[in-house]
């Protein structure tokens, strides 16, 4: 071999080596994920807990699949058209097979919808969201029409939680069959292998998946609820990736050359809510602890004073170590119906004091602020920070932080006058927060289930109109308008949006999903 042919052959060698390296990646390697949550069940129709959905998304597919910003994207339905205000038509993907070899078609969609309301011990929540579907019409094996009883814009997003099951499972399949793996059969990117309770779940790649081949052929989820242990497991190299990284560990982990960090703004927005309804708000007194003659939160000036007294940027940069975003509204940026005109409420203690004086509280008053201490990222920390910020404008705050399992039962009995909550916005648009948190409670429609303390009939009408508008642009304009009214009223005061933080060993790429789902199909081996 002469010198120059040898030289010319170098690129080919390099190419071959690259191809080999790529093959090694494509042939697949095992991936071990240290995760905070263990599913309650592998029956995708038993409960609608968002923490379990991420497991279902590995094994099953839905007609419509949310992308990483929770926008509806084609799943087992290749495309859909809005035939009329109450009819959606779905063209199903052809040539898709379930893990047991059976072919997917319209009959499976019918079977799935039929089983949904009949699951033994089921909480019926997914069924509730899909209740507007009055009838399923099979046009041909690959065309399905869903008829709703009245115009309902939420159907498409709700279908993202309807995981399609093979009709071969029959009418008597139980949740236990799913959890044992016998019935955990979907069309998803991974097949179920085993689930050792409290320990791990194993999956293997479904090479025939329509959505493209994931990079890893064997995926093991290891359940590590303790955050410090999760971080240590990654650092020790026992797992390749961990979810729900505590923000306080992020600076340290970023300095570790063996670790990569991936962040994205989460759908969850933290907010402060004030009791604007009752004549006496629990925990609110004058500065000496005597009851006040009226509830100060009924006065919009007091509510605005509180909003302007909170320095959201400082909370994010100091208490959350930069792992959050100051919120302009009850939803993170980029979600359907986000109002771009809204700004983060100005931090202005002088204005707060002025507003309080105008409202008749020049000396301020005292209140109890209830919050959780184990539910949201550093919740007891920012709760105390807010307490001190309010103290600077004359409102004496007693911070009452408690575990979530004590907090939520109390919250449900409406025992708080001022309290902090987070909303997951899992629908990917303004619909869920406006329906459940802002709308007045209504037993018949189920709206306002997280609203104890706020009524605004104008807003109710606006939200109802938006929910019944099928046209995307018009609906989102209505959402944006509603959100503006919510901010004006300052009864529900947004604080900040959390971040999804995932850490991997070097050499992996991860696309975080806004709903905090940890998805093995979003992990890619980096091809250098």
């Amino acid at each position: 071999m002469s010198a120059d042919t040898w030289l010319r052959s170098i690129p080919r060698w390099a190419l071959a080596a690259m191809a080999l390296a790529w093959l090694a990646v494509a042939q697949g390697q095992p991936l071990t994920i240290g995760t905070m949550v263990e599913p309650k069940s592998m029956d995708p129709q038993l409960t609608a807990l968002s923490s379990d959905l991420s497991y279902y998304r590995h094994v099953f597919d839905s007609l419509v699949t949310p992308d990483d910003r929770l926008r509806p994207r084609p799943g087992l339905a290749e495309s859909w058209t809005v035939v009329s205000d109450t009819v959606y038509e779905f063209k199903l993907r052809r040539g898709v097979r379930f893990h047991d070899g059976s072919t997917f078609d319209a009959k499976d969609v019918v079977y799935t919808l039929e089983r949904l309301p009949k699951v033994p011990n089921g909480d019926g929540l997914t069924a509730g969201k899909l209740k507007p579907i009055a009838r399923v019409e099979v046009i041909d094996p690959y065309t399905v029409r869903l008829h709703t009883s009245k115009p309902d814009s939420g159907i498409l997003r709700a279908l993202g939680q309807l995981f399609i099951l093979p009709k071969g499972l029959g009418p008597n399949v139980t949740s236990d069959d799913f959890s044992s793996g016998k019935a955990a059969i979907g069309t998803g990117p991974f097949r179920f292998v085993s689930w050792k309770r409290s320990d791990n779940m194993q999956l293997v790649r479904n090479d025939a998946w329509w959505g493209g081949k994931p990079d890893f052929d064997k995926v093991t989820f290891r359940f590590i609820p303790n955050a410090a242990s999760r971080v240590a497991a990654l650092q020790a190299g026992d797992v390749d990736m961990i979810d729900f990284v505590p923000p306080l560990d992020v600076p340290r982990l970023s300095r570790d050359p063996k670790i990569s960090i991936f962040k994205a703004s989460a759908a969850r927005v933290i907010y402060l809510e004030l009791d604007t309804l009752r004549d006496v708000a629990p925990g609110v007194t004058d500065l000496t602890g005597k009851p006040l003659d009226r509830n100060p939160f009924k006065d919009i000036r007091v509510r605005r004073a509180i909003s302007h007294a909170i320095d959201r940027k400082l909370i994010v940069s100091r208490v959350l170590e930069g792992m959050g975003e100051p919120a302009t509204q009850l939803m993170p940026q980029g979600f359907g119906g986000y109002n771009d005109a809204l700004k983060v409420p100005a931090f202005d203690p002088a204005l707060s004091r002025k507003l309080l004086a105008e409202a008749g509280y020049p000396q301020g008053f005292a209140m109890t602020l209830a919050c959780t201490n184990d539910r949201y990222v550093n919740d007891s920390g920012f709760c105390q920070a807010i307490g001190q910020m309010l103290a600077r404008v004359g409102i004496k705050v007693a911070v009452d932080a408690m575990p979530a399992n004590v907090y939520f039962p109390k919250y449900n009995k409406a025992s708080f006058g001022a309290y902090i909550l987070g909303w997951g916005n899992s629908s990917g648009d303004a619909s869920s927060v406006l329906t459940s948190v802002v709308h007045s409670p209504n037993k018949a429609t189920g709206r306002g289930s997280w609203n104890h303390n706020y009524r605004n009939t104008t807003l109710d009408a606006l939200i109802d109109a938006a929910l019944g508008t099928v046209d995307d642009t018009r609906r989102e304009a209505l959402y944006a308008k509603a959100m503006e009214r919510v901010m004006e009223d300052a009864a529900i005061i947004p604080l900040h949006a959390q971040l999804v933080i995932v850490a991997t060993r070097k050499g992996l790429n991860y696309t975080p999903a806004a709903d905090e789902a940890t998805l093995a199909q979003n992990v890619r081996a980096r091809k250098n």
Binding site: A48, L49, D123, G124, S198, P225, N226, S229, P409, G424
Partner: protein, 327 residues
């Protein structure tokens, strides 16, 4: 002796009733878990439905009555969260916890007894001071902190041992346990050591004080005067004399280790009952918590009974006493 056993079992039954009542009403007092169990977007109607399905809309005394009623037929109720039978969830995880507690108690005895003997037979020596200081640390350092430090040193920095979890299972005589594989032993070492620190310190201190006391006693002096070797004096005569309180302590500690492996299990993600308990308390999953407490109390009662029986063989005086009462 039959009377003694029957008495103990009857007492144990009373304790079980008391514990189930306390756990049941304690969790009831915290509040309604429904909101922790359903998706936040659930409507009021859905939440009511879930509450009804779980029987949480019934008055407290009725819920307890239903619980006791189904208990009579061996049904401990289903978990609010997973809808699986609560007792099955616990029994599934119990082997992992028992194995961890057993490994810990073995470490505690193997390390604690010799250390205590050495310290007790050389009072005031440097060895004695080292053992005493180490045991104080073993008592007082918080388990979760020591656990994290062990992970940091041996798993993260040195990379010798895995940082969490239970290893591969092996089987021997039909028992499945991670104690039978090398991978399993590597996994159990750190959590077992962490769990062993407290009982190890206890055993060492107890052995030390027993040995010191025994050194002054006539039978030891006599044995020495007879010219028996020092090794035989310590390991046969003294050890036998002090074994009764140590065995009692080990029996009690084994129960405690099963019950309080909670922190160690959480730190090391050990898939045992403690990890399950923490998660269940977090979501007020009453059937699981109550079933767990009943199992743990039963284990305690059983261990107490076993300890009593071992006593009988170790200490003839107890045997004759018990015999006299039983006749």
């Amino acid at each position: 002796m039959v009377k003694l056993i029957a008495g103990r079992i009857l007492q144990g039954f009373g304790v079980l009733v008391a514990v189930s009542l306390i756990a049941f009403f304690g969790i009831y007092a915290i509040g309604d878990p429904t909101s922790l169990l359903v998706d936040p977007q659930a409507t009021q109607q859905d939440v009511e439905q879930v509450r009804h399905n779980l029987g949480l809309d019934q008055p407290m005394w009725r819920q307890y009555g239903l619980f006791v009623g189904s208990l009579a037929s061996g049904d401990f109720g289903r978990s609010f969260a997973t809808h699986e039978p609560a007792m099955r969830m616990i029994l599934e995880r119990l082997p992992a916890t028992l194995e961890l507690a057993l490994a810990a108690i073995v470490i505690a005895v193997v390390a604690g007894v010799p250390a205590g003997l050495a310290a007790g037979t050389h009072p005031g020596s440097r060895l004695d001071r080292v053992v005493m200081t180490a045991s104080i640390l073993g008592f007082s350092l918080p388990t979760f902190w020591v656990g994290l430090m062990l992970i940091l040193v041996f798993a993260v920095n040195l990379g010798w041992l895995p940082s969490f979890g239970r290893g591969e299972l092996g089987s021997w005589l039909g028992i499945h346990s991670s104690l039978f594989t090398l991978d399993g032993l590597r996994h159990i070492l750190l959590p077992a050591l962490n769990l062993a620190l407290f009982p190890m310190s206890l055993v060492a201190r107890l052995t030390r004080s027993g040995a010191r006391e025994a050194l002054e006693l006539d039978f030891v002096r006599f044995a020495r005067a007879k010219g028996i070797s020092e090794r035989r004096v310590v390991f046969v005569h003294i050890l036998k004399y002090i074994s009764v309180p140590i065995v009692t302590m080990i029996g009690m500690q084994l129960g405690l280790l099963v019950a309080f492996a909670i922190v160690t299990e959480s730190v090391f993600s050990w898939p045992g009952t403690g990890k399950l308990l923490i998660e269940s308390i977090g979501r007020l999953d009453r059937p699981v918590v109550v079933a767990y407490l009943l199992v743990i109390v039963s284990i305690f009662v059983l261990l107490n009974l076993l300890t009593d029986l071992v006593y009988l063989t170790l200490d003839p005086r107890v045997r004759f006493d018990a015999g006299a009462h039983a006749e």
